[in-house]
Structures are given as C-alpha cells and as structure tokens.
C-alpha cells in the first residue's frame, strides 16, 4: 500500500473561445493570385499586420507540395497561416497548419487606427449674454463669458469664472474642491457668489460698494470681494 494517498489529478481546464480571422480564397493561377496580394500589401503595408489568416482551398486542387509551397510563399510576405480549410486532411502534413472546419461568416469591423485622444478643453468660452433661467455648468475648468450674466441665470465652474460684463446672476466657482478658484467680473450685482461651497448671498454683498471690475476669492473660509483696480 502506498503510504501517501494519491491526490486526484486536477482536470485540465478548457474553455471555448472564438476568434475572427481573414480567410483567403486562392484561385488559379496561384502566381497571379499572389501578385494581387502583393499589390494590396504595397498599397497598405500594415493591412494584414498582426492578423493571422486562414486559407480556404476549396476553389483549387493542390497537391501536398503545392500547399506547402503556398504556405511558405505567404509566410515570406509576413502572413502567418493559422489554419487551412476546404481540403482533404490527407493532403496536409504534420508541419503544416492544422485543418479547420466549421468556420462561419461574420462581418469584419474595420478597426480604425486609434486617434490620440483629444485633450479635454480646460476652459469654456461663451460669446454671448447668459439669460435668466439659463444654467451653464462646466465642471472641468474655467468659464469665460463675453457678455453679462442676467438675474436668474447660473454659472457653475470647476475652475474660475470670468465675466466680461455685469454679473447679476449666481456664480459658483471651484465646485470640485478648488479653493483657489476665483470669480472675476466687470461689475458685480450678483445674487449669489460661491467658491467651493463657501457662499455669500446678495444680502451679504454690498454691491453698491463696488463699481468697477471686481474679483471674488476665498480667504480661509471667508468669501472676499475686492475691487480689481
């Protein structure tokens, strides 16, 4: 009796998976068919790069030697033959790619070469007045408005807010925790000013005290309003 109990061999884990491959249908004369492939390769050299192909030989009648020749011709052109179908198994030698059966048609999605992702704009420019009831939200950065912001309008920015006009509505800057965000305007008559959640309402803003360009910034947890010049 064995002293050591045999552990049961683990079953090999197998999973089914399907892949998409290009299938070539060689036709006679093979020489001319190969030339066509050369033309394609010359026009777009990367077309088959990294893509294994399958040979469907159902349209031709080739001997074992001829098949071996064809496979090596393709490999010389950088095309790896993954498998062969449409031929009798006896025509294939052990060194050749295996016989494939049961292939199904599918649409080949033309892979677009990935564009380098455009950098997200860090600011939003509005070339017009923001009217009452409109809400401009831009969490990714600064908002610049060339015009006034009306009473009842709302500007919400992740960064700073620049208003080249009178700010009469609500302005909320630095909403994502940006303590250094500021609000700038040509004239301040705002209903609400906020930076990173710290706010002042119109009652707490003595708009009459500020006539010209003004900036709003955060000092500690106090919203400060100071003239720009």
């Amino acid at each position: 009796m064995d002293a050591v109990a045999r552990t049961r061999p683990k079953p090999i884990r197998l999973r089914g998976r399907s892949y998409v491959a290009f299938v070539f249908y060689p036709i006679v004369p093979i020489i001319e068919w190969l030339e066509e492939i050369d033309v394609t390769l010359r026009q777009s050299p990367g077309f088959f790069a990294g893509k294994p192909v399958v040979l469907d030989l159902s349209a031709v009648d080739l001997s074992q030697n001829a098949i071996a020749q064809l496979v090596s011709n393709l490999e010389q052109r950088g095309l790896r033959v993954l498998g062969i179908e449409g031929v009798d198994a006896s025509r294939l030698s052990a060194s050749m790619p295996p016989l494939l059966i049961g292939g199904r048609h599918c649409a080949i999605g033309q892979e677009q070469p990935k564009k380098p992702e455009a950098k997200k704009a860090a600011s939003l420019l509005l070339d017009s007045q923001v009217r009452s009831g409109q809400s401009i939200v831009f969490p990714d950065g600064d908002i610049t408005i060339v015009g006034s912001v009306s009473s009842g309008a709302e500007i919400v920015a992740g960064g700073s807010i620049h208003v080249y006009g009178t700010l009469r509505g609500r302005a909320m800057a630095g909403i994502n925790g940006n303590l250094s965000a500021r609000i700038y305007c040509q004239k301040i008559e705002a209903e609400l000013l906020a930076i990173d959640g710290y706010y002042r309402t119109a009652e707490e803003i003595d708009a009459a005290a500020y006539h010209g360009p003004t900036q709003v910034w955060l000092e500690g947890d106090v919203v400060q309003i100071t003239p720009l010049n």
Binding site: V130, R131, S132, G133, S150, S151, G152
Partner: protein, 271 residues
Amino acid sequence: MAKVLVVTSGKGGVGKTTTTAALGATLAQMGEKVVVVDFDVGLRNLDLILGAERRVVFDFINVVQGIANLSQALIRDKRLENLWLLPASQTRDKDALTDEGVGKIIGELREKFDWIICDSPAGIERGAMLAMRYADEAIVVTNPEVSSVRDSDRIIGMLDSKTVRAEKGEQVAKHLLITRFDPARAARGEMLSIEDVLDILATPLMGIIPESQDVLRASNVGSPVTLNDAASAPARAYIDAARRLKGETIPMTVPEPRKGLMDLLLGRRAA
C-alpha cells in the same frame, strides 16, 4: 416674402395683445397684408381688442384638428381690408396645440400674407413655446420694472434656443418694445430707466410706448389704439415702431415728463 413675427414677453399684462393689434392694424394701413394669430388658447383676447368677437365661428384649434379649413377660420377686419384675424379657441386649452399643427398652419399663412403676427400667451409653457416656434422675428414687450425685465430676459434666451431658426443655427431677430412707460415715474426713479432696461436686456430698442388712458379706451370699444385715435401718444409711438419694423430709420424719442403748471410758473425742471 412673408415674415412671421411673434409678440412675446414672459410676463402677463404687459401689453402683448395691445401691441399685436396696434402693429397689425398699422402695417395693414401701410398696405401690407397682415394676419394676427391668437395663441392664447383658452384665454383669448385678441378678438375683443379687434372688435371681432361676435364674428368668430371657427378657430385655430378647429383648423389644427381639420374640422375647418383656414379660410373658414380667418376673420377679415371690418375697417381694414388688409387685416385678418385667426382667433384662438376659448373652450380648449393649450394642450390642444401641436407642433405639427402649428407648423402646418403657419406654413399655409406664409403663402397668403406678408406678415403673420403671433400673439403669444404669457408664461413659458406650451402655448408660448409654440407661438415663438416658427418665428422669423420677435417683439419682446417689456414694462420698465424688474419682474417684467427678468421674464423678458428669460424669453430672449428661449428665442435663442427653442425656435426652429435657433435649432438650424440661425438667429431670430429680436426687437425690444418698452410699453407702459411713465415718464414722470421714471424721472422720480420709481421705474427702471430706459438705459437700465437696455443694459440688462442688450436687445435693440424698437419703440417706447407711453402709459396712457388711450390704450384702455381703445380696447373698451374693440379697436386697436392706432385706429381709435391715431393722434394719441401711444398710437404715434406704435406707428413709429411699425415703420422701424419695416426697416425705416426713425429717431427714437424718450417721452419726457409733462410739466405741470406749477412747475412752469416756478421754472422748475423735472428731476
């Protein structure tokens, strides 16, 4: 080419219907073929101001629903042969208006008239949205006080985003008409000044209509103010506005406060 003009304001009671009737009548007198369309379904007034309320048989909604055709619903003014009215339904509400229905009717009116003036209901709901939907130009009626100005601001924003023109990337030409302007109260600082209103709304001014008893008097007799007494101050202001609408250049005058006898005697100047 036909022009679709919407008279809108956001706030109620500022003078949209008075303006629609006055401009419609004035343009008709100038020889243009005009139809005024009441969009205030359920609360129609334009028929009263034009004195056509006893001749309404079919209305806008009947045409939308295919019960009547357009020529059956159009009412010709008794005084001006170039002026027509398409009345709203009084028994329905704004939900009876559909985008396609309105678009179809406006399209048909474009073939028959030079000016299609849409009298918008107050508010920013369905009726007001559909009244402005197909407009080429807009008259924004505003009283010189803060609530009216803010509502007009909201409406201007919608003219720039919710109209067919805006959706095509084009502009709806906007004209500001300040109504019920009381020079004496403005001088005393009890009303917003014209400059304040223009500063807030940043829209070209088309006219200033002074507050006047003539407006009420005219609507009581069912007549546009410009027809009832063409020499009255509001009528003259409306006639100027209509000429500006047609592209004429007419200098703008801000109504001055009338000096009282005592002011004259004492040589006082209005503040």
